[in-house]
Amino acid sequence: MSSLSASDDVAIRIQNVHVTFRVNVQRNPTLKSTLVRMGRRQQNVREIKALQGVSFDVHKGQVMGVVGANGAGKSTLMRTVAGILAPNEGRIDIYGRVSTLLALGVGFNSALSGKENVVLGGLAAGLTRKEIAAKYEEITEFAELGDFMELPMKTYSSGMFSRLAFAVAVHMDPDILIIDEALSAGDAHFKKKAAVKMKQVVDDAGTMLVVSHALGVIKEMCDEAVWLHHGRLIRQGKPDEIIEAYTNFLNVGDDALVLEDF
């Protein structure tokens, strides 16, 4: 755990964060089935401890990578840092404006047009109409969507969808950018452009928190990395070290497979 105390240098401070999900065993709970179960006096709630006392700091301008197996709690951590989920215990301090690019999409309603989604997403995130209008041109240009911006997003290919998501996330002028396994935006041409843009965000003294299964990306982009497992922080350190420890742990013969999972 980083023990630097100069808080004016810290962008994200995560202290002893616990997140527990209470999961209803039923997938789509209905009033009818709940009443039936209550009649039978059944209790169908399970607890899942997705994060159990995670602490670390991310400093201003730093790119922090997060690795871990499926179910390790990476996405939960990203959503808690973004303020979407609430910690059950602990505290998270964020210094700066956060923009997210999460695996689940960017809050798009596919019945609405790309333009409507960008405006609504921006307003919900607290931008003014003026700010959105100022960024809108850049976003469309970067996403290379042209006239498609006026069409419902259900007419988009998945590449177009993620291009727009990426464009929105990086053009919000975030101080902190959170990316969860969403780097595979579009084709090779767009990936290259995306990489350049991300570098630019970092160079503008931006801070980044990146989850990726593509260990190559972590190695290349990050200054530091953490390894989560079963909701606990196993190790924090230089990306090379962490990746080595992680791949050893995974004990897969060919890390090439993991390295190219992009």
Partner: protein, 309 residues
């Protein structure tokens, strides 16, 4: 109860956020409502976008909005005025005694039109409330992708559907105005009482929108039960009858129906009479209670929405 704080130390887009549990289960009201206010543009824009998507912003779309309650009003008119008259061997239907005292000779001579005016105006108000509740119940579920990816005061979602329902209510007023005059209903200073009564209806509906929006997250079948309750509620409210039609013995129980004072007071106002204080204050009490209960439930649960969707 664990929860998230959106505490912004400076309002300027929140340079310092703290996320931690707070055990009362409610976010601090100051920052919450400040953020709600600051992002209200989202609620209006969402409503506008939805009207656009449903073509309600076109002339034909607006006509359609009005046609539905109009047709229903016509059906009830046939049931309550025409059929009752023919059941009376063609005798004119006479208004109840209490009502006669309130009507002008012109209105009594025109009782058919008067009933029709009462029916349409009350139905439009009832549709305002039921649309707020029905769209509000689904607003949280429909905001799914956004809730999963952006932190914002979720109350913006039922707020938006309330605004949407209100916008859809406005064109019905244009339909009502000519009917008002055909029924020889008076226009007086008392007519202005309609404004606070509509406000009570909106606030009351907003509270229930938050209540059912929350319940719908936990029980996905709530919205499918709602239309039945709303239909029964319609028959229990002074929409297809006048307050004066009620047997005396039933009146004390009517305070239990929130729409009794609200729709009743609205009906009085449009008939040119000042509604009784009992109605005005009773309706206000229901509106405030609904908003408090719905709002507190909503705010104490909204941090769980991202997990439940």
């Amino acid at each position: 109860m664990n929860s998230k704080t959106i505490s912004t130390e400076d309002d300027y887009l929140g340079e310092h956020h703290v996320y931690e549990p707070h055990h009362v289960g409610l976010p601090p009201f100051g920052p919450y409502f400040r953020e709600l206010r600051r992002r209200r543009g989202f609620a209006f824009e969402l409503a506008r976008t939805q009207m656009h998507a449903a073509n309600t912003d076109t002339a034909l779309g607006q006509i359609w909005l009005v046609l539905n309650p109009m047709l229903l009003a016509a059906v009830y008119y046939v049931l309550t005025v025409v059929l009752v008259r023919s059941g009376n061997n063609g005798q004119k239907v006479v208004p109840p005694a209490d009502l006669i005292a309130k009507l002008s000779p012109g209105q009594i001579a025109n009782y058919g039109w008067e009933s029709f005016a009462h029916l349409t105006s009350s139905l439009f108000l009832f549709f305002l409330v039921s649309t707020i509740i029905l769209t509000g119940a689904n607003s949280v579920i429909q905001g799914g992708a956004l809730i999963m990816n952006t932190p914002f005061p979720k109350m913006l979602l039922p707020l938006s559907s309330t605004y949407l329902a209100f916008r859809r209510y406005l064109p019905t007023l244009l339909v009502y105005i000519p009917i008002h005059f055909l029924a020889r209903r008076p226009i007086s200073i008392n007519t202005l009482w309609a404004v606070p009564m509509v406000a009570e209806a909106v606030v009351f509906g907003f509270g229930l929108a938050m209540l059912f929006g929350t319940l719908q997250v936990y029980f996905r079948d709530v919205a499918s039960f709602l239309p039945y309750f709303i239909r029964i509620w319609l028959y229990l409210s002074p929409v297809i009858y006048y307050v004066e039609n009620l047997p005396k013995a039933m009146k004390p129980f009517m305070i239990l129906n929130p729409l009794f004072p609200i729709a009743g007071g609205y009906g009085e106002a449009l008939g040119g009479h000042a509604p009784s204080m009992q109605m005005v204050l009773g309706g206000a009490a229901w509106a405030i209670a609904s908003c408090l209960i719905g709002g507190l439930l909503f705010m104490s649960r909204e941090r769980e929405f991202a997990v439940r969707l």
